[in-house]
Symmetry: C2
Amino acid sequence: MSNLQQRRDFLKRGIALSTASITGGTLLSSSATAATVTEDIKWDEHYDVVVIGSGLAGLSAAYAASENKASVVVFEKMKTIGGNSAINAGSVAVAGSDYQKEKGIKDSPELLYQDMLKAGRNLNHPELTKHVCDHTWPYVKEYCIDKWGVEFTGQVIHVGGHSVPRVMSTQSGSKFINAQVDACKKNGVVVQTRTMIDKIISDENNNVIGVRVREKYRFGKSESGKVKHIRANKGVVLSGGGFTGDQRYVTLQEPTLQDARNTGQKGATSELLIEALKAGCNPVHLSWVQQYPLSSPDEKGFGFAYAFSSRAACVHGMLVRPDTSKRFMNELGNRKQRADAIIASGHPAIAIADSVGFGKVSHSKIPMALENKSLKKFDTLEELAKEYDLDVAVLKGEIARYNELASTGKDVDFNRKMSGVSIAKAPFYAARCYPKVHHTMGGVQINVHGEAIGLDGEVIKGLYAAGEMTGGVHGAVRLGACAIADCIVFGITAGKSVSAA
Amino acid sequence: MSNLQQRRDFLKRGIALSTASITGGTLLSSSATAATVTEDIKWDEHYDVVVIGSGLAGLSAAYAASENKASVVVFEKMKTIGGNSAINAGSVAVAGSDYQKEKGIKDSPELLYQDMLKAGRNLNHPELTKHVCDHTWPYVKEYCIDKWGVEFTGQVIHVGGHSVPRVMSTQSGSKFINAQVDACKKNGVVVQTRTMIDKIISDENNNVIGVRVREKYRFGKSESGKVKHIRANKGVVLSGGGFTGDQRYVTLQEPTLQDARNTGQKGATSELLIEALKAGCNPVHLSWVQQYPLSSPDEKGFGFAYAFSSRAACVHGMLVRPDTSKRFMNELGNRKQRADAIIASGHPAIAIADSVGFGKVSHSKIPMALENKSLKKFDTLEELAKEYDLDVAVLKGEIARYNELASTGKDVDFNRKMSGVSIAKAPFYAARCYPKVHHTMGGVQINVHGEAIGLDGEVIKGLYAAGEMTGGVHGAVRLGACAIADCIVFGITAGKSVSAA
């Protein structure tokens, strides 16, 4: 059947409502005898697989489904493809990669799993976390490198909360997204922007059979766009990301974040999550919202200075609080530990590295941070101290102490792993850091096949989910670079599952 | 109209489904033209107010509604009335009571509010917490004491996490429940046990209009009992308690509790919460599950020894860990701090007080704990140490140190408030403590009127909620004795609101 014919095709079906059916609380049948609502849904288009959201999880799912010969559409509500995936740091935690082996770094899926459980306060759904850890290198190798041609820098980076250096980087999430879009299009996947899903459609057995969309949707105008009904022969994949940009829903779960800024794009809202909950998905860990500790208050959103603060200052330098001019944390602690420490201090922290530490990091965003002045360069520590209102004598004492610890390799003050680089050689670099809302750990419940689980604990047939849209993989606190790992592994998993349905 | 006539009355109404209507994900209407499902619901009974759950929140709501001349029914799924409210310690936090004033204790709603926010990690919905704090003494005075005749011991107790002594006690939750049931019955409230709600019924505008029940329900048999439809003219109050006894749902939110025991009765399950979520209620803080730190592993459920451990050992004595025979916490920290400390130690803690500390506490459950041997009496510290495998020399050193701190009134080791009583005079008493699942902080979202809030942030008309069923009042960690305060204040609030509807 041609696409055109499919579009003209009406799926005539009576929707029988069993006694179990409820409409947002409306009882449709009040006795053991099922009432029947007969109605024709006019399906405007038919696909095997409908993917909602064009970030890393969605495009991974779309690609994996297309490999299985499924016809696939990806709907993106925004004008641009990729969501937060396109503006992130492009860092992916990979356990047991060839890059690690080349550098003699001993790592394993089990060690990554233990790191994720520790950061996650053991709230993680262990089978989901394990599934991600077991597949980071196999899927990054097979899909990112071999099939999509994603280019990594070749570095293996040590990121906060991880036991060993294991993070591979493209320096920008857009490099993943662009490669994925090309690969998807080659496989015939349709990627359609400005298309908002406003209903998930189920049949009489609560199996998901399609979606109602609004084409040419204008973000924030819920009634805008042309309504169409899209049939999903095999299933629907929810990969709409998190809700970090949705102040109402973030504040509901974490009222202290009322005035917090965030690192995301404006489309990181809660409508699809809410629609999924209305469709009977089970909410998991919604009250865990992560703040990224190293974003700069001197630029908008995620910005650029974080690249310096996370890669140079936290690894080869230090963070001080401006009121005491002293170190106050393990700069390689997990994100929550670091964000909590900065918030508790009451001030943005000052991230500092010298020219040697600075020179160890090559990152495309660092020149942009120097350009917008969120990252600054100083010829002397006196100038640096003056800029951030630090006590230069105290600061020099702290640096002397830091250098002593760096030379022994053992940070007895804050128990951090030391790279051995001291803070000594001018010029010096510094940036301010203050937490911004960055990731929502919670979402809908899934199983290891990427199938959505309903409130009663049963699989919702025809419904799949992956990425930040889901809850359980990261528990209470997500480790850095584990979001992309999650999106790739569960995106591919969901894509394989839905196309095999 | 007589009840009999009401029962014979059929409410004939067409249920029109707007485009917004969805059945557990089923789209019933696919265009801007509303489809209409016409159906007769045969209402078996009519009440103004239907209250679900007969614990403190439910009975408070029922009483307040009955005062407003509403006809009220309370449905309880179990054979016995009261749920966990009937088996708890009967302790209620009251800020600014006459009892405190008599004893010269300076307290205020604001101070309780700050204590609750501190324990709750500021995750509390502040307006809800404030509403509870502002009404503890007014409502305890007007309702518990004056209208229901609840008898308090007259003591004002210092409970962990509270800044000052403020807890009033009946020594058993059943004293509240019995008094409430009597008062409710005098006002014509029908209290019906073994009646399970299996559907919340809404009309075409998603207003809640009634419930489907199963009478003569047998707990755990979801298909048991006779189905009836109950019309709620003014509204339905959800006060079904928490889900501490529901291993599937607890583990989903907090996987570490897979093997944890719990303090509750077996009816503390999740069906009503799940039904409320299906009806479009907004989930808040579901991942915060509290463990009670001082329950005894040597008895079932909540037991009795906690009365000694919380009132005598934590206030006038100390807790030691058996592997070191040393103190290891502020024994008046909040529940999470204490539970975490015991779990981290890997062993049940040993709670110890001498005869002076023991004699300061009069509690009806203490003789029961001695009877079942979860609490034991020793003539010498040597005997006590032998029983719990402690190093008696180390223990004596710890006691000497403790007595030194007690005499100065300042616990520089663990920053606890000291009562001044030392551990010196035989006989000595001791009990083992290990955390058990005790309270679920999360639940459905409400506003300060006790109205249920839907996923989209709007009030669900006709639906109210109170008590452990709701989320937000306690944030991440509930303080001791604040559950009864919450149940009374929000129960009465919801009862006033629904009956005024």
